[in-house]
């Protein structure tokens, strides 16, 4: 019982912190993947926008799904949602609470990716270099529209032969990066203010319902963990009994078939129950063969 109590306490205290830990690790992984990723804008008129916006939005979706997969509570929530009612009523408030807590944690890594890519600026420069107004930049004002599009598309590529020493390229690049960083910081500010308000104003609304929902969602989680632990314990005891029964039945079979008693008398008394009366090479071989060819029924 003592062991069970220790296990309860462990799961109780650590369920939230394990999930927060996974959330933090994914956020760090998202920054690391962004820095390791070799961003190379195609610098072609139609491809730029697809590439730039793709890099900004597709990895966040993958990170979001990854967070949902790695979070154990999402399975708990789905099971609770889909189970047949049976004798236990279903409380939608608990399911909603679980859903919102899962979503909040899952949104952290994608938001981190989007903010890092905006603050870095490469994605937006690549996507929108073709959309700036060429009239504002000296180097692009006097070219034909088609040529302007080609030139603007090459702005993100610093090493391109046409763009190497072009000062207007730097101007466009700085302009877009400024917009990108402003957008990034604004989004960060809005999110932090929203999180602050949500946490601060929460006790003003439905605190009692919230406490209940949190308690029961915790309960469901722990109940499932303990059920799995008990099943493991049960299968271990079941296997133990099954094997002892098998050894016992082998001993009886050997006693029936051989007339000489096993030589247990001279061995140490404490070893008797371990030897189970199987004390000859052919007896052991027979036991092992029977174990493979005819496993005992469950």
């Amino acid at each position: 019982m003592d062991r069970f109590r220790m296990i309860f306490q462990y799961f109780q205290s650590n369920s939230e912190s394990v999930m927060n830990g996974i959330c933090g690790l994914l956020a760090l992984a998202s920054v690391k993947i962004y820095t390791c990723f070799d961003f190379s804008c195609p610098c072609l008129p139609r491809y730029n926008m697809a590439y730039g916006l793709g890099i900004m939005f597709v990895p966040p979706v993958a990170l979001f799904l990854c967070s949902l997969i790695l979070n154990r509570q999402s399975l708990v929530m789905l099971e609770e949602w889909r189970r047949p009612q049976g004798r236990r009523k279903k409380d939608l408030a608990v399911i909603r609470y679980l859903c919102s807590s899962i979503m909040q944690r899952a949104m952290v890594a994608p938001v981190v990716w989007i903010i890092v890519s905006l603050l870095d600026g490469k994605c937006l420069i690549c996507a929108f270099s073709g959309s700036v107004d060429p009239e504002n930049f000296v180097g692009f004002a006097n070219a034909s529209p088609v040529q302007v599009q080609q030139l603007l598309a090459k702005v993100p590529c610093k090493d391109d032969e046409l763009m190497r020493n072009n000062t207007s390229r730097k101007a466009v690049s700085r302009y877009l990066r400024c917009w990108s960083q402003a957008l990034g910081w604004s989004i960060l500010l809005i999110l932090i203010v929203a999180a602050f308000l949500a946490r601060w104003l929460r006790p003003c609304f439905n605190q009692a319902t919230l406490l209940q929902a949190r308690h029961w969602s915790n309960y469901i989680d722990i109940e499932q963990k303990i059920f799995e632990e008990t099943c493991c314990e049960h299968s271990r005891l079941f296997a133990h009994k099954c094997i002892l029964h098998f050894f016992e039945s082998m001993r009886q079979e050997i006693k029936l078939h051989s007339f000489s008693l096993p030589r247990e008398g001279e061995g140490a008394e404490g070893e008797d129950d371990l030897l189970q009366g199987i004390t000859g090479q052919d007896q052991v071989n027979k036991l092992l063969k029977m174990w493979y060819y005819e496993k005992p029924p469950l």
Partner: protein, 262 residues
Amino acid sequence: MDKFRMIFQFLQSNQESFMNGICGIMALASAQMYSAFDFNCPCLPRYNQAYGLGILLVPPFILFLLGFVLNNNISMLAEEWRRPQGQRGKDQAVLRYMFCSMAQRAMIAPAVWVSVTLLDGKCITCAFCTSVPVETLGNASHPSLSQGDMKRVLARIPCKEIYDGQELIANEVAIRYLRCISQALGWCFVLLMTTLAFLVRSLRPCFTQAAFLKSRYWSHYIDIERKLFDETCAEHARSFAKVCIQQFFEGMSTDLAAARCH
């Protein structure tokens, strides 16, 4: 028995995390192997595609097989599959569950290799450099070459030092184009894999939860039973050896005592 109970408790509760740990290590090893691998595109018309696609597809297959080999439970699955029926019935659902869980874990390292390869871009650049659309990306003013010559020139795109088709199509333009396509494919592949994993994990509680609980219990049971049987046999062998040796020493001492009397 208390010591055994503690050991089995540890193994049982940690078996899943142990398997997940091996899975994670193999994924990291696969990324590390790719970065350590020295990719050398042959830059010859027919060899490029074979080399590029070979590097993209053959190591994942090897990693997949390695994932199965490193998994301890593969022998357990094989044994359960091939044993004679005897007095204990065989449950196909349990075999399917064991195989599926092993296959899912074994798929992770190959998926990481393919993603890293596509996101890096070298393989696709090497394999498909002869298929670059020269009409749209190249210089229109260049005189046209024969098919064979064109392919020979384009095949050298990944090898910047020997590339001689700068007038036909700029090297950087072609490489950027191919890399963009490769990275788009890579991210789509990552998205597809995570979506599949998410669907597999989330649809299960909706449909087959009871059957799943049953299969999971019995596959754990088979595993524990095998471990307990091995432990019991080891204990039996120890006791058997002890009894044999004690009898031998007693026999020797009686012989020596008899010899001394004479």
